[in-house]
């Protein structure tokens, strides 16, 4: 076996920020926090029918987690309410506590794209976006928002993106990886067009309720499997974007994959390359090796940190992916949170630290 290579990639290091967290989950003390942002019609609908998504359980995720609210036990606000619902405590414990310069909110509640009623879905998306502004972005300048858009209804998604695009506090469009159809399908292309025209990146955070089995092998029994299935889901989204030709058609499109891991990317790229080499006549619109798009159009957030044994093996992964592709995230307040001080168990150069903890996100979101 050869020696582990040293990290040797050019990294653009200049940024005024030291720490950008690309994945913070805001939440509500009660669902009634939504009321000011919903019309009476949708308040009534919410009260009567609640959420109606493409799964069996109405109030919870498919697989119960191993800890309440999927959250760090120490993240419950002393003033009450669930983790992530209390801005003063979020500030104190997280933003101030870790010295975070910019934190990007990723709201998951109500799962707008997973709602089956299309008009309710759109109303929820709009309300969640207004709620982000009212509860977090107005009072806290370090926070940034994600435009929740209804992936299953591209027309309404584009309308929502257009509505928010002038508010620079929104730094990305948020879509769920689990969808009715793979993201690269042409019916989703108006969303990409809107993203590119507004200079907004798209972020895919694990989750969603597309109505399909959580793995290509079927519905797993246990949370440990469902947790891992997020990896395979991200893989299928990437394959779809590449093989449908999305990055050929929208060369400026930037997409980040959040909380789905990243150590699988090299081998997945190698697999795509090999399969494409054999069957590129099926997809003549794909002009380059699939792995080339991975170096150009996609980014990954770091949490949950990959932890090989021995830790030094991660250096190979970083070399293969490129440290210019990785953006630090904590997933606060969720249980598999990463602490920026201890997440990386391999040494990074100063330039790489700057890139991963801030510089890459500055480039991705266009923050400077």
């Amino acid at each position: 076996m050869t020696e582990t290579q040293t990290l040797e990639r050019p990294v653009e290091a200049k940024t005024k920020f030291n720490l950008i967290d690309c994945d913070i989950h805001p939440s509500m003390k009660t669902p009634a926090e939504m009321h000011p942002y919903l019309s009476q019609r949708w308040r009534d609908h919410l009260a009567t029918y609640g959420g109606h998504t493409r799964q069996g359980l109405s109030e919870t995720l498919s697989h119960p987690r191993m800890v309440p609210e999927v959250s760090r036990v120490d993240s419950w606000p002393p003033a009450g309410g669930p983790p992530g619902s209390d801005l003063p405590f979020l500030r104190e414990q997280h933003l101030d506590g870790l010295g975070i310069d910019i934190g990007v909110l990723v709201p998951l509640r109500f799962n707008a794209s997973g709602q089956r009623h299309p008009d309710f879905a759109a109303a929820i998306a709009t309300a969640i976006n207004d709620w982000q502004v009212g509860k977090f972005l107005e009072p806290e300048p370090r926070l940034r928002g994600s435009i929740v858009a209804t992936q299953e209804d591209p027309e309404k998604a584009v309308a929502e993106i257009n509505r928010r695009s002038s508010d620079k506090r929104f730094v990305q469009i948020l879509l769920p990886p689990r969808s009715i159809e793979p993201l690269g399908k042409r019916r989703h292309w108006p969303i990409f067009e809107a993203a590119v025209s507004h200079g907004l990146p798209i972020s895919l955070h694990v989750g969603g309720v597309g109505g399909h089995q959580a793995t290509g092998a079927g519905w797993p029994s246990y949370y440990i499997e469902e947790h891992h299935s997020q990896v395979q889901t991200m893989q299928s989204v990437i394959a779809s974007l590449i093989f449908e030709g999305v990055f050929e058609h929208f060369p400026g499109l930037k997409i980040s994959f959040v909380e789905g891991g990243f150590s699988w990317l090299p081998a997945f790229g190698w697999r795509m390359d090999k399969a494409w080499a054999a069957m590129r006549d099926e997809v003549p619109h794909v002009k380059r090796l699939p792995s080339e798009y991975l170096k150009k159009n996609v980014w990954f957030t770091t949490q949950p940190m990959e932890e090989p044994n021995p830790a030094k093996n991660l250096t190979d992964t970083l070399n293969w992916i490129g440290t210019d592709r990785l953006m630090f995230s904590t997933d606060y307040p969720h249980w598999d949170f990463d602490d920026p001080r201890y997440a990386f168990k391999v040494p990074l150069s100063a330039a790489e630290k700057t890139a991963i903890f801030a510089g890459n996100a500055v480039n991705f979101y266009g923050l400077n």
Binding site: M66, E306, P308
Partner: protein, 374 residues
């Protein structure tokens, strides 16, 4: 770019003489060919219903897709490996293969009627014994079964196990449910009881979408997704406690790829530490369970040629026991006869070619012992 594409498959190889090829595909039989191996109910109703005129090829492995038929092995029929002569001339002789395991990819495994599936699987197995194994001593067989009805699968395993040339049980990677689930356990117990590893081969029923995001448009996408399905199956087998329940079970992943293993290990081991109370029968980290119980056929080797990625990946896997030589004939995974990349090195090559298959397949090991005693 064309240079790069060629380089994905063309590289120096090591000698494979005397090796055990653990994944070889004779072309699947035409349905008419199977009629004489079916009982009179199925034979007559198949003719009545026109089933005998139907191809039972699967969407998960279209036999004419470029990945499934290497162009220089393709016969005038558009298929490859459809005669014993072709298999001898293209797959056994050039590689110097000592033994090869025939994995027949056939739609019998995915029929919706449990009974029809069982009848067809039985016919394919009988056909394999009569038309291939009887005629070529270098060939061994996999007992194909439909996993969806464990009782019928067990009956076929018990029946076929008497023939020692069948060295493993084979099912497909995608089934109705993840393969760790308890409905499938009788199959694993029957396999272990008969000293037969369980081979899980790429492919599947497509009764539900092959990804959690729905149906991909292109075959190349679906082919790529097979590795994702294997990852899910691997974790299912571990989390459900299959290897705790059937400690003698060996599982062989065929045409799954293996370079995704390090990443799988890292995440599964880490998550297990946090959530293991959910499955308290899993008392070891998942990677250790895999290294003891699961084997992977060599092809496809998915790592770029121009870097040390493969060597680093093997170092990450950190287990020389888990790869089993395969050509995946007639699938297009490499060029020429370079089935075993020089990147593996001579020492590991011997493990892959002979030692690991012998440690995995008790029936083949017994043959070797008998032959050595002679």
């Amino acid at each position: 770019m064309n240079e790069m594409v060629r380089s994905l498959g063309n590289e120096p190889g090591l000698s494979t003489i005397g090796g055990i090829d653990c994944d070889l595909h004779p072309a699947s039989p035409a349905t008419t060919t199977l009629l004489s191996y079916l009982d009179d109910y199925w034979r007559e109703t198949f003719i009545m219903r026109g089933v005998d005129r139907m191809s039972l090829a699967m969407t998960a492995s279209p036999p004419r897709a470029p990945i499934n038929v290497r162009s220089d092995w393709k016969a005038a029929s558009g298929f490859a490996g459809d005669t014993l002569e072709a298999v001898r001339a293209q797959a056994l002789d050039p590689f110097g293969t000592r033994l090869a395991i025939c994995n027949v990819l056939h739609g019998s495994m995915i029929m919706h009627s449990d009974d029809m599936a069982a009848a067809l699987c039985g016919a394919v197995n009988e056909w394999l014994a009569r038309e291939w194994l009887d005629k070529e001593p270098r060939l061994r067989g996999s007992i194909i079964v439909s996993a969806q009805n464990a009782e019928l699968a067990v009956a076929e395993i018990e029946k076929r196990a008497a023939d020692s040339r069948f060295v493993q049980v084979m099912i497909l990677a995608q089934n109705d449910e993840p393969l760790g689930r308890r409905r499938y356990w009788p199959i694993y117990e029957a396999a272990a009881r008969n000293r037969l590893p369980l081979c899980i081969h790429a492919g599947g029923s497509n009764r539900h979408a092959p990804t959690a995001t729905g149906w991909p448009s292109f075959f190349v996408e679906a082919y790529v997704a097979q590795a994702s399905i294997f990852e899910s199956q691997l974790l299912s087998l571990i989390a459900e406690g299959v290897f705790h329940k059937v400690p003698d079970l060996k599982v062989v992943f065929a045409e799954s790829g293996f370079t995704w293993l390090p990443s799988f290990f890292w995440r599964a081991d880490k998550t297990w530490r946090g959530v293991r109370a959910e499955t308290p029968w899993v008392t070891e980290q998942p990677s250790d369970i895999v290294k003891r119980h699961v084997r992977f056929t060599l092809q496809p080797v998915e790592a770029p040629l121009e870097t040390d990625a493969l060597a680093r990946t093997l170092d990450h896997i950190d287990c020389n026991d888990i790869l089993l030589f395969s050509t995946d004939y007639p699938h297009a995974q490499f060029e020429g006869v370079n089935a075993l990349s020089a990147r593996f090195g001579e020492t590991l090559a011997k493990k892959i070619l002979i030692d690991n298959p012998l440690a995995t397949y008790p029936r083949i090991a017994a043959d070797f012992r008998k032959e050595a005693a002679r």
